[in-house]
Assembly symmetry: C2
Homo-oligomer: 199 residues x 2
């Protein structure tokens, strides 16, 4: 069974987080959400992950704390970085996260980034390659990457996407890459997409 580690922080875009997690679970992928504390929280000592306050005020309880020891590519097949300006900033500026992004790709595992989450491609120092993101952070990425405006861009094992409105095709692309085209169809059917959209 494929396993995914989905990062979450205060300010994460809750639709991008939830659609990705839920769609992967529907495909039989085992998902764990890992809470990345902001700089201000780093000094605190928690016994369990606090809830993450989403970008539009939905409070989500993460499954675990992010830890560079527990979120490694030998334990997971996919690392996902959702958007939401504040959440993506916290996650993309974390040097342990940046290190893990490189390790996942070096070891042939998948990394997904969506919306402002794509900033992590730059902060992790990834090589110039095709990428997309939310239009609001395009200017921060277009010099370092071959910037595209497709809903989903697959570049080797790096999968990037644009915003809440592209999260379904992003999640379904991850399902297809991890579990095959047949599973993508099995998962999309019961989700009842309107005709001529994503089904």
């Amino acid at each position: 069974m494929a396993k995914a580690c989905i990062l979450i922080a205060d300010g994460t875009e809750e639709m991008e987080f939830t659609i990705t997690y839920d769609t992967l679970v529907r495909a039989g992928v085992s998902c764990a959400s890992a809470y990345v504390p902001s700089g201000a929280d780093n000094d605190a000592s928690f016994t369990s992950p606090p809830f993450a306050r989403g970008s539009r005020g939905i409070n989500i309880l993460p499954d675990m704390f992010f830890s560079p020891q527990d979120c490694t590519p030998d334990k997971f097949d996919l690392l996902v970085i959702p958007g939401g300006a504040k959440g993506a900033e916290t996650i993309s500026t974390s040097s342990p996260v940046q290190h893990l992004v490189r390790r996942f790709l070096d070891e042939g595992k998948f990394v997904g980034m969506i919306c402002a989450g794509s900033l992590a491609a730059k902060t992790s120092g990834l090589a110039k390659q095709p990428i997309t993101s939310h239009p609001s952070v395009k200017s921060e990425l277009e010099k370092n990457f071959d910037y595209r405006e497709d809903p989903v861009v697959v570049s080797g094992k790096l999968v990037t996407s644009r915003g809440p409105g592209t999260t379904f095709p992003f999640a379904l692309t991850l399902v297809e890459l991890l579990c095959g085209a047949e599973k993508r169809k099995d998962v999309a059917g019961p989700m009842v997409f309107p005709p001529n959209t994503f089904a």
Copy 2:
């Protein structure tokens, strides 16, 4: 400012909940999620709402407990019932919820139901009218209602929809009804829908 009360229970479909809540917040609608305990929980006494365990394992902290006194149509312009088989069963079989559904519609306020949440139209004893739902509960609704298979069905103040894949058009329709067509466009733009889908 328009206000929405969005019900949630253990087993609620977390995408349907999150997309609706988040999209309404983006339109400036003040949202409160209200936790409906299952029968087993009714005897317990809580001091704060417990988290709701979503249908695919995402744990969400509701904003408040559901109470027939606090979720009334004088306080909210819209009542939303999301799907997820177990969550929709808990919500649609709650007689205080059924009473409120009728009050909202009687007092000219909006009620939204999506996926298995549409079962609440039947349990609340609503008059025969156009309705849709997740295909899995169609057989329970088609005798009592004028059943449709459109992504979103608007019947007076009752708005119904089909599943996770139709939640964006469901939420954007609610935005349009509460805040106007211009606001719907303002909200959809930054969500970056793929061309020819919902934008």
